[in-house]
Symmetry: C2
Subunit: 327 residues, 2 copies
């Protein structure tokens, strides 16, 4: 039987940075420059709830880290490191952990976010993991969720709904549209579900221009409702402006009723933000220069009502299920 | 069905500090004074592995937080806040969560360690929780595990082995000594297992005097072996000097063979540290002034052998099981 110390040395030490003290101490020291602040976030994932137990171990690892990095990006922060709690089921295999650790190490390197510490335990049941990620940003630069102001433009990054469609595909036994979709489109949507892309390139640009931001994890409709509510405002969205990928549009062409799923399903891990009208041009340009497409989808309005979603004919649309919940 | 937002507002918001942003944002901002550094640690606990599923919810909550605070104390750090990942089993009850949250809020207040953020999910199986705790300390003041030096005095705080005996009691169906022990002693040992006392009062004193320190979570024998190994030294311990509580001594009087369990069982959450001989008097005095009894149990020696434990006759003792492993 392998000890936890051996497990650390073999699988996890390679992804530790200097601050992690080689993962050999009780706690990790994190160097913070005097002119920067720390932000911290945590996300837990369980097999059978957030991912499928038979997903590729590398996909599970990447998603667990990236959903946390997505939160940091939304706050305007740069990753500084992460901690991993991993509960392995009784029947874990070395190949599984090798693949899991290799993918995590690759992401840790690519996103410049070293492993600072962690805890590996036996799970009495399914695989469970929790990642806590630390980020830093210039003092006072954090982008809060609750500061959207009436008149702000509302933007999203990337495209919306791909992951929700990908999840429907992953579940299998799915409706007609999944079979009618070509292979490339299916692969694209599935990849968007399995491998979110944290929008870290957008972080400093949000810090410079956004009034408020959050990442979209529980669906655009639900998350915009949350952002509006905590900001004490409402919003008007034109559905016709919401960016869909070619693959999502191909699926929509087969089954137009899929639209609600795309707008309310979870796992986008795109950025939703509010930007003052006077800054919107600079925001769009800076985002483009950073390689991220952002799209204006509507405006922040006064009042305390739930956001309004208007179809291309200007009629308000309501959704059967407002928000996706992982809980 | 209760939503995660309602869960946060009802159960967790009361224990959030200012930095936690009322737990309504994607990430928490942590204020770090310019002259201080951040240390961070994480510990995961699963029902049936680290605690009994039918332990009182308040005991589970306190232990989960305190084992992390114990790590911070060992590094010389002051708590700054914590994050909680909680996977609730399908059959969770509101009374359970009410008691869990009330105890956690009490500890968060008592230890000046507010909740900064977290994630609550459904567990596909048993209860699982992971806490990440942040601490701060003056720049350069962290007490490392790997800096014990030949000639240093070796100290432990409090008493050793109580929790291991308490766990044996908690397991039930136990050997003769448990039945022969009086009620007060049994309650004391059980409490030591269920409710570790993080030695935060010792943190600044370790920072001032200790060469190396760690908290004892996997048994004195195993943890001293770890500290010696990473420091590249050995150690000589006199078993007769190891502090046992009255209750542990009463159990030992009934069954002397219990000694090995006390020295190798886990869950002490006392501090093990190495202090230069020239500083040992000041260390003892400062610890006493802070209300913590520390006891010199031996010395750091040269060489790379495993630490030697000597019985009162000066004969080396070996242990069947070197270290307790939670993994």
């Amino acid at each position: 039987m392998i000890s936890e110390d051996d497990l650390i040395a073999r699988f996890f030490a390679p992804m530790a940075g200097q601050g992690g003290l080689g993962l050999r101490d009780d706690a990790a020291l994190v160097a913070i420059a005097a002119d920067r602040e720390v932000v911290i976030t945590t996300d837990a994932l369980a097999a059978g709830v957030h991912f499928f137990a038979d997903d590729a171990p590398g996909s599970i690892a990447r998603k667990a880290l990236r959903v946390n990095l997505s939160d940091l990006a939304a706050k305007g922060a740069k990753p500084a490191g992460f901690l991993l709690s991993l509960a392995l089921p009784k029947d874990w295999r070395e190949e599984w952990l090798t693949d899991f650790a290799a993918a995590l190490a690759e992401d840790a390197r690519d996103f410049a976010c070293p492993l600072l510490g962690g805890d590996t335990i036996r799970s009495p049941g399914a695989l469970f993991l929790s990642i806590t990620a630390l980020g830093t940003l210039p003092r006072g630069a954090m982008v809060h969720r609750d500061r959207a102001r009436t008149g702000d433009c509302i933007y999203v990054s990337g495209t919306i709904g791909d992951a929700a469609a990908g999840l429907a595909l992953r579940k299998g036994g799915a409706p007609e549209w999944t079979a009618a979709l070509d292979l490339n489109a299916r692969e694209f949507l599935l990849d968007r579900y399995l491998h979110p892309q944290p929008r870290l390139a957008l972080a400093p640009i949000l810090g410079a221009h956004a009034s408020a931001a959050m990442d979209i994890s529980d669906g655009l409709v639900g998350d915009l409702t949350k952002m509006s509510r905590v900001s004490g405002v409402s919003a008007a969205i034109e559905i016709g402006r919401i960016p869909f990928s070619d693959s999502a549009r191909a699926a929509l062409a087969i089954d137009p009723s899929l639209r609600d799923l795309l707008l309310t399903g979870g796992d986008d891990y795109e950025i939703l933000c509010a930007v003052a009208a006077s800054r919107s041009q600079a925001f769009e340009q800076d985002a483009l220069a950073a390689g991220v497409i952002v799209t204006k989808i509507g405006e922040v309005t006064g009042g305390a009502d739930s956001p309004t979603f208007l179809d291309p004919e200007g009629r308000p649309v309501s959704f059967a299920r407002g928000s996706f919940s992982h809980f």
